[in-house]
């Protein structure tokens, strides 16, 4: 599923978090939103998920051609992975993963056995078989991150949004998870957008990188394009390469 962002502006009080942002993410693409803190990248991600609403006006968000601008988060059902995982601490790992399936309305909701089956399958996929009965507090950061991902994927989202997915992890775990995510994306081809402030992460993972600064998109391009042709001073400086 593709995502179209048309002319989105967002202000918090007098602070302009996003200014006329336009972006298109193609079906099956893996795109990184890269920028320093306070650049508006998380706000943009939250607006796409429906956790935040853009200022009223000409702004529009489309999921695969249909306008979702005024839809709530639970209607949009974009898979969202939070920076600090936001796992349900009072539920086991299996219950966390099953949550999205269990809250479905009656006709769509799978049978209990089918839910159990998908949970087992997802646990295998994130290499946490046998961890279903544990509680989030008994997991390491990397394990929590994978559970958060499995939970988001359980409902079969058309779009996956990740907010600093590896931000709170140590360098070694980060590297492994990065590879794992790329591989996972290549297998499933779910349209994925992730936020990061780490350019290595963005360049290693993403098909295209969007550079944000002070609420403006500075440049969009593949890692090669960006390195070769930074459009402005900020991009060149941020990517630490020389402007030609």
């Amino acid at each position: 599923m593709s995502i179209h962002i048309h002319n989105i502006t967002k202000t918090f009080g007098s602070f302009n978090a996003l200014k006329n942002v336009n972006l298109e993410v193609k079906t099956g693409e893996l795109v990184a939103l890269l920028g320093p803190s306070g650049s508006g990248k998380t706000t943009l991600l939250r607006i796409i998920a429906g956790l935040e609403f853009a200022d009223e006006g000409e702004g529009k968000i489309e999921f695969h051609g249909s306008d979702v601008t005024n839809r709530t988060a639970y209607e949009r059902k974009a898979g969202f992975v939070f920076q600090n995982y936001a796992l349900f601490n009072h539920m086991t790992v299996a219950e966390n993963i099953a949550f999205g399936l269990r809250v479905m309305k009656k006709p769509e909701r799978p049978e209990r056995e089918d839910i159990d089956k998908s949970v087992t399958e997802l646990l295998r996929r994130i290499a946490l078989e046998g961890y279903g009965g544990r509680y989030p507090s008994q997991l390491s950061g990397g394990q929590k991150q994978r559970v958060a991902l499995a939970r988001a994927l359980a409902v079969g989202p058309q779009v996956l949004l990740l907010d600093e997915p590896f931000g709170a992890l140590d360098a070694k775990v980060r590297k492994t998870l990065r590879k794992w995510l790329r591989q996972f994306h290549d297998e499933t081809k779910v349209t994925t957008l992730f936020v990061t402030h780490d350019q290595d992460e963005a360049f290693e993972l993403a098909d295209r990188v969007v550079i944000l600064h002070e609420g403006h998109i500075q440049q969009i391009g593949s890692p090669q394009q960006l390195r070769a042709n930074p459009t402005n001073e900020f991009v060149a400086d941020f990517l630490d390469c020389v402007m030609i």
Binding site: T72, A86, L87, F88, N89, G100, V103, A152, V155
Partner: protein, 287 residues
């Protein structure tokens, strides 16, 4: 603890001593003041209550409850608590939700209004309702016209009890909900949960111990409230006397054993509250 009696003078220089350590003498003084105060103010009255209640033995104690007015007072108090506590649980939840989840104008004002019952005298709280709904009050004439009785009746008692106790649930929950943030609720929403499912499956389990703690406090206060209820109730025996008011009546009539026997029931409620409060605090700490 830094030892004061040092039997190894040679090691004197290397002895570890915290900068904040007090002398043994001052420590003793502080501890005895604290323990003495507690004993005098809390333990002694507790002992006296039970001693007086059982002055005529177990049979005398039981006999004290074999009285229509006493049973009516207990029943009325239970009724008041049964109405007040659920309502204040809902008010408290709503208030804590508003304050912790939304930014809006007048939030500061709302926060201080929630604490109002703590710094307004209960007597004033009762008086407000007399001035509003009493016979000479603001709404008095029109209420009389419709045959509605609020003051010197159950509605007045419930209203003033609600006023005095509405702070507890909100005050316990607000800081807790602020600290927990709403990431889990947002996660539930992106997973397709509607507001109802989010509230019951995510929010309530997150705050349940704090909520229980607030409810326990609210209940204890609503059963024990004297001042506010005293103003609006009119002390009508078998009609508007709650347990605390009834104790006063019994005491003033020199019926000491019944007075202390009924008082012992409130005391037991307080002790049970204390135990439950300790349990929920530990649970809250662990959660």
């Amino acid at each position: 603890m830094a030892a004061i009696i040092d039997i190894h003078p040679a090691k004197h220089r290397t002895r570890v001593r915290r900068a904040t350590a007090e002398s043994a003498w001052s420590r003793w003084l502080v501890i005895s003041i604290a323990v003495g105060f507690m004993g005098l103010m809390f333990v002694l009255p507790l002992v006296v209550i039970f001693q007086e209640a059982f002055r005529k033995g177990w049979d005398g104690y039981i006999e004290a409850f074999d009285d229509r007015a006493t049973m009516h007072a207990i029943w009325l108090t239970l009724k008041v608590a049964a109405i007040t506590v659920p309502l204040n649980t809902i008010f408290g939840l709503a208030a804590a939700w508003c304050v912790s989840r939304f930014r809006f104008r007048g939030k500061r004002l709302l926060t201080s209004l929630i604490e109002l019952p703590l710094w307004v005298s209960p007597v004033i709280a009762g008086l407000i309702y007399v001035l509003l709904f009493g016979a000479q009050g603001f709404f008095g004439p029109s209420l009389k016209e419709h045959g509605i009785k609020i003051i010197f009746a159950l509605p007045g008692i419930v209203l003033s009890t609600i006023f005095v106790t509405f702070t507890f649930v909100a005050r316990v929950l607000t800081p807790q909900m602020e600290a927990q943030g709403q990431a889990e609720e947002e996660a539930a929403m992106t997973l397709g949960a509607n507001g109802f499912q989010m509230f019951w499956r995510v929010t309530i389990p997150k705050i349940k111990w704090g909520l229980l703690y607030g409810i326990i406090l609210c209940n204890a206060r609503s059963m024990g409230e004297f001042g506010a209820v005293s103003v609006v109730s009119g002390h009508i025996r078998n009609k508007t006397n709650t347990v605390p008011l009834h104790i006063e009546v019994l005491y003033n009539e020199n019926q000491f054993v019944p007075a202390f026997a009924v008082a012992s029931v409130l005391t037991l409620l307080a002790l049970a509250t204390l135990i439950l409060k300790t349990l929920t605090t530990t649970k809250r700490g662990a959660a």
